[in-house]
């Protein structure tokens, strides 16, 4: 439960298996600060999923590898593959819908 702080080194291992939701954020980004509590709330409610936070300022390699050009970006991944990505703040329900699409489609 809750979320994992990922970095350039451990990111691939963390998202390798199962469904992952990755919050790519930055320290100077106000919208990221709004997304954080929403992301954290969902992460405490939904066990068995990987909720991952990636600080783009400290982890340039993964940021480049996944072509993150704007933050906050959310990556919705299944077994290490990005299935869907969104840019900007999303309300709780929409994030849940993206997760549902990963789980049940």
């Amino acid at each position: 439960m809750a979320y994992i702080d990922a970095n350039d080194k451990n990111f691939h291992d963390i998202v390798a298996k199962g469904v992952s939701v990755v919050d790519c954020y930055g320290d100077h980004c106000n919208p990221c600060r709004i997304l954080t509590p929403i992301f954290e709330e969902i992460s405490t409610k939904m066990d068995y999923l990987n909720f991952v936070k990636l600080n783009t300022e400290h982890n340039p390699e993964i940021t480049r590898e996944y072509s993150i050009y704007s933050i906050p970006t959310l990556l919705f991944m299944r077994d290490g593959e990005v299935v869907e990505r969104t840019v900007g703040v999303l309300p709780k329900e929409m994030i849940e819908e993206y997760i549902a699409a990963l789980l049940y489609e």
Partner: protein, 289 residues
Amino acid sequence: MYDCAIIGTGPAGLSAAINLKLHEKNIIWFGSKEMSAKVTRSEKIANYPGLPMMTGPEMTSHFQEHARRMGLVIEDKMVSQIMYSKRSGFSFLAENQMFRARSLILAMGVVSSQIIPGEQELVGRGVSYCATCDGFLYKGKTIAVVCADKRFEHEVIYLAELAQKVYLFPYYKDCAIKKDNVEIVPNKISAINGIEKIASLTLTSGEELPVDALFCMRSSIAPTTLLPSLTVENGLIPVDRTMATNISGCFACGDCTGAPYQIAKAVGEGNIAAHSVIQYLSEKAGKKE
């Protein structure tokens, strides 16, 4: 959760706000305390029934007084993003706060067609509206900045501290930025090029400028950027007789729906939009029970 959010404090927005308030709806109203610059700037308004030959400032002060007496509160905040989902309704991002509402009235007037060809397609792929968010991602890179207002200069300076080179396109006079790595470009941008990611800009001079990102710092955001699923034709929002747009629960009124660009027309449309919202809310409540 608000019953309705209104964006815009011109005549259409005011009319909608008054009517929703009269029906005791819980609303949030985004705009400016000055209400409408366009109204205030009008020299004479000759065709508003009951108030003959008003000057713009007089009209504005009447509007402000009406809003005050009704106890209407204006949130002096710029809405930068609207999200819609069937389950959650509308969510708004306005200056670091998130708001939610069941329905939405767009009354933001005509946003001058400042959108650059290619901009919409490359949002999140190198086109950004948030310097503090995305600046860091372009550390040491070459970027371009469209700056529409002096009050965004500090954001340009922030970007210049991170980027290796900044091409600045100030769309106003008296740009007060002086930095070694900032080059003020006299042309405007006619197109943004790139497929997966931004590659270059085409300038009005015909010159092509390779860049890694384009930051757009503007005080108003085009409706399609604000709410991507909204249908917009030639910069205007198509509506039916109930002021409904293509998105369920989202209504539009006033200048943003098209000509005639008149106060009386805007006020009428605002009134209709408010009543459509009331109808929409009661239908929705009915379904739940």
